[in-house]
Symmetry: C2
Subunit: 368 residues, 2 copies
Amino acid sequence: MPDFTVTPWHVEGDIDYDKLTRQFGTQKITEQLHQRIAQVAGEDHFMLKRGVFFSHREMDRVLEQYQNGEKFFLYTGRGPSGNTHIGHLVPWVFAKWLQDRFGANMYFQITDDEKFYSKHDMTLEDTARYALENALDFIALGFDPKKTRIIINTRNIRTLYPIAAQIAKRINFSNTKATFGFTGETNIGMIFYTALQSAPCFIEDGPVLIPLGVDQDPHFRLTRDIAPKIKKHKPALIHNMMIPGLEGPGGKMSASDSSNTIYTTDTPDMVKKKINKYAFSGGQPDVAEHRRLGGNPDIDVSYQYLRIFFEPDDGKLESIYTDYKSGKMLTGELKQILIEKINSFFQTHQKKREEARDKIQEFLYEDR
Amino acid sequence: MPDFTVTPWHVEGDIDYDKLTRQFGTQKITEQLHQRIAQVAGEDHFMLKRGVFFSHREMDRVLEQYQNGEKFFLYTGRGPSGNTHIGHLVPWVFAKWLQDRFGANMYFQITDDEKFYSKHDMTLEDTARYALENALDFIALGFDPKKTRIIINTRNIRTLYPIAAQIAKRINFSNTKATFGFTGETNIGMIFYTALQSAPCFIEDGPVLIPLGVDQDPHFRLTRDIAPKIKKHKPALIHNMMIPGLEGPGGKMSASDSSNTIYTTDTPDMVKKKINKYAFSGGQPDVAEHRRLGGNPDIDVSYQYLRIFFEPDDGKLESIYTDYKSGKMLTGELKQILIEKINSFFQTHQKKREEARDKIQEFLYEDR
C-alpha cells in the first residue's frame, strides 16, 4: 500500500513531495532556479519563495529560450466538476503573474468532456454550466483579454481534435494503463481524453509553459514523449502542491465536497462558519495548554492558506507563525485573520466575477 | 485458425456467410422479408433478389415504423484510404434506391480520422484529400441534394463529438477488445473511434437504417447495446456481402491494392487491361476444354461483377450464366461483356463525378 496517491482524478493521503518528485521524474525547483526565475521576471513571487510551486520540467530551458528572444506561451486549465474553490486559484494567480512578467499569451482549457467521462452522475449539460461559471473566476483574476483565450473542449473541438489525433495515434492503451492505471473497465472517452488535454500544447508553434497542480503532470509526461515525434517543442511545466482541504492534510481540496471546501461564491458568513467549524487546527485542546505549549502552524490549515495564498507579505506571515507557535496567538485569532483575508479578497473577486459575465465572449477561443 | 476473418479493418479468406451471420448474430434476409421490402418500396431491387444484400438487423422493424407513418433516415459512409473502387458503389447505389423509394434523408460519413489512425503511413492531409475525392463518387450517383448531407469527421467534429461522448462514456476498453480484438498496442484514437462512427445514428431523432458492408457491423453491435441506455432508437442495418477483388475470392476489393481493384477514375483502357489480365476466371485452361466442360460462373469474378452490380437485367444475366456454364461463351467473351458494361457505366459516372466538384459545397453538412 502506498501512503499517498496522486493521479489526475484522485489525490489521497499525506503527500511526500520529495518522494512524489522522484516517482513522477520531475525536478525540484532549486534555490538557483528560483533566483533565476525572479531575475528574468524582474521580481520574485511569494509562491516560488515559499515552495508552493516546488517542481518543474524544463523551466530552465524556457527561460533560456526567452532570454534568447523566443517567447513562450502559457497553458493551464480546469475540469468543471463544480464551483471554483480557493485551491483552483493558486496556479491561476501564478499564471497571471507569468503573463504580466513575460508578456505571454495564455490558453485556459476547460475540460467539460473529461468531467462528463469521469463523473458517473454528471451530464454534458452539467459540466458545460460549470465551465462558464469557472471561466468567470478565471477572467476575474485580471488576465489580459488581448492575450488570453478560453478553450472549452466540446465548443472548440474542431480546433482541438485534429491536433489530438496526431497525439492519439502515438499513444496506445498500454501507455495509458502505465501512466494513469487504466483498466479494461475504463471508458473509451477517458482513454482518448489525454490526447485532448495535450492538444493546447501545440496550439501555437513556439514553446509552452504550463503552470499547474502536480496531479496533472502524468498527462504531460505522455505529451513530452510524443512532442519530438511530431516535430514539436516538449511542453515545460511548473507544478504547485496540492492545496489541503479545510479538514486538513490527506488530500486536495475537492470541488464536490462542500463542507471541506471554500468556494469563490461563498458569502462572508459562509466563509466565517466554514473556517471556524471545519478548518483543521494545529492548536492545543484548551487555551491554557495552548498558551503553555503553543500551536503547530505547519499542520494548521488556516496558517497554510495564509502561507499559500492569502498573506503575500513575508513579514506579516512570519509574525503570525512566531506568535502562533509560541502560544501568543490563539487558534480563534488565527482563524479570524484568515476569515478577514478571504472575505476581503472575495469582496473584490466576486465583484469582478460578476463583471466578467459581460466579458466572457471576448475571452472565448474562436475556431478558425 | 478460422478459415475467414471479417472485421472493419481486415477481411480475409473465403467467407461463409451463413457462418458469419451466426457469428455476428445478424438475421438472414428471408424471402418473406425480401418480398415485404419490395412491397413497401413499391418495386424490387436486383441486389436484394440476388442476395447481394443478404443480412439485416431489424429491417422489419423500420418497415413497420415506416408503414405506421414514422420515417427513417439513412446513414452510410466511407473510410477514405484511397480512391473509390467499384466495390464501394454497391451499398451507395442501394442507398440511393432506398432514398428514392422511401423519401429518406441520407447522411454520408467520411471517416478521415479513422483511416489516419489505422494506416501507419497516412497523414490527416492524405485522408482529407481522399475524403473529397470519394465524396465526388457519392454525389455522382444522384443523391437528392435537399435530403443528403456529407459529414467529414474532422470537419464536422463539433456536431459529432458531443454525441460520440454520450456513447464513449458507456463503452469500456474490454468491450472494444471483445468486439474488435483490440490489444494494449492499439492506439487510443482507434479505441475511441467507434464512438464517432456511432454518432450519426443519433443525428436525427427518428429511427435510422444503415445500408453497409457486413464488415462494418461490429461498430453498430456496440451502438445497438447503448442506444436504449441513452433513450434512443437502436439503429437498423441491412448488410451487403464483400465484393471480391479482381483476383478472386479470399478477401474484399481493397482501395490500396491497385492491381486487384478497379477505380472509378480508371480509363477505358485501364479497365480493359485489368479485367483481361487480372480478373479471376472460372473457365477451363484452353478453348477446346472450355467448350467441352464449360466454365464455372459461381467463382468467375467477371460474372460476379455482372451479377452484383453491372447487369441489373435478370434475363440477360441468366443467359450469360447458361452460356458460360455450357461452354458456349468463352472467358474472353464474358470479360468483354463486363469491360463494356463497366466502361459504359464509367462514361456517365466520370462525367457526373467531374460535375460534382461544383456541387460539393451544397452537400457538405454544416455544424450548427
